[in-house]
Symmetry: C2
Subunit: 189 residues, 2 copies
Amino acid sequence: MKYSTRDKILDAVYKLVYINGYNGTSIDMILKECSIPKGSLYHYFKSKKEMVLAVVKERIAPKMYEFYDLKKVKEEDSIDTMIRAILKVSKKEELVKFGCPLNRLNQEMSPVDDDFDKAINLIYERMKGDILSVLRDGSINPDVDLDSLAQFIIATVWGSLSLSPKHSSKKRYLNTINHLINYLKSLKH
Amino acid sequence: MKYSTRDKILDAVYKLVYINGYNGTSIDMILKECSIPKGSLYHYFKSKKEMVLAVVKERIAPKMYEFYDLKKVKEEDSIDTMIRAILKVSKKEELVKFGCPLNRLNQEMSPVDDDFDKAINLIYERMKGDILSVLRDGSINPDVDLDSLAQFIIATVWGSLSLSPKHSSKKRYLNTINHLINYLKSLKH
DNA sequence: TTGATTTTAGACTATTTAGTCTAGTTAAAG
DNA sequence: CTTTAACTAGACTAAATAGTCTAAAATCAA
């Protein structure tokens, strides 16, 4: 299994854009990071934007589905499944340290570029759908609106991860998110 | 009361950086936005970075303290005060549309620049302190950790505001944040 | 092996970037 | 009115930016 040039590029761009943002990452930084010449880069991608959109689809999306993978943490009770997924996030060091890569790019690019907005929202909607389907076949108090609850869960996790990157820690995340867990427990039927 | 050049610059930079980010805002964009020559800009600020740091201190900070101003919404019960403050956020159109300006800049700059990290964290800590002092003289269940609760409130509000700028609305914010309000109510002693 | 295709290589270009510099203008202070 | 200081004006510079282009090298199919 060889490590293709295209994969090398996508990995480097993922890493650099995650930390420096889209506008904070230059083509030269990317070339240096993965030691390839410019010709190769523009052989695989027709522009910087196309390249980063590819990263969204081929790197960020799978990571998001994996981070919040609900099948792997399935419990008998749907609330317990959610709680396990939320706790599992704390084990991903990069998430705790730098926040959610999708949320970061979303904040930078969605207000100024429709293509990013669409690509990112697609992932967001699927995540929300995944959460919803877990919540639906659970034992949740029937007068709770599940759609807004799914949204609330994502918003709270993202928000907790976004508090001051430099001073973040697993412990801080767990302390914050503990309130979400308490709330979820209170919704059990 | 005259509208000084310096104020004009700070207002323009606030607006442009809010939407386009630090790296997405060029000096030329700023000059165009407020129709002043380059010489004036560099007369008042020695660099782009100094200028945006001034915006953080003189524009973003006051706005944050105002957005979440707890004195103006004071109720008898501290939980009710918090709830009113959280609901008041929905009335600020720019917040609902583009998210929290402090959080946006924080995500872009804190991981890559210590000066921004410090300036932003100072504001964050003061906000947290303001919230804490309200929570403390209230009727909250004594085994609730107030520090992490304050953090949870900020994280949840910021997270709710950051969900897909383009598709945000007052209604969506209120739906999401309603779960936070339910949780806060459940903490009453 | 041969011929075609894909991939690498990096010099080059046009534009944009932050920031400098000097001369001119306006306002304030005496 | 005069002198000094604050401010405006924008041409200019050096570096960085995204992207182009042509030629060479490696890979693949016959």
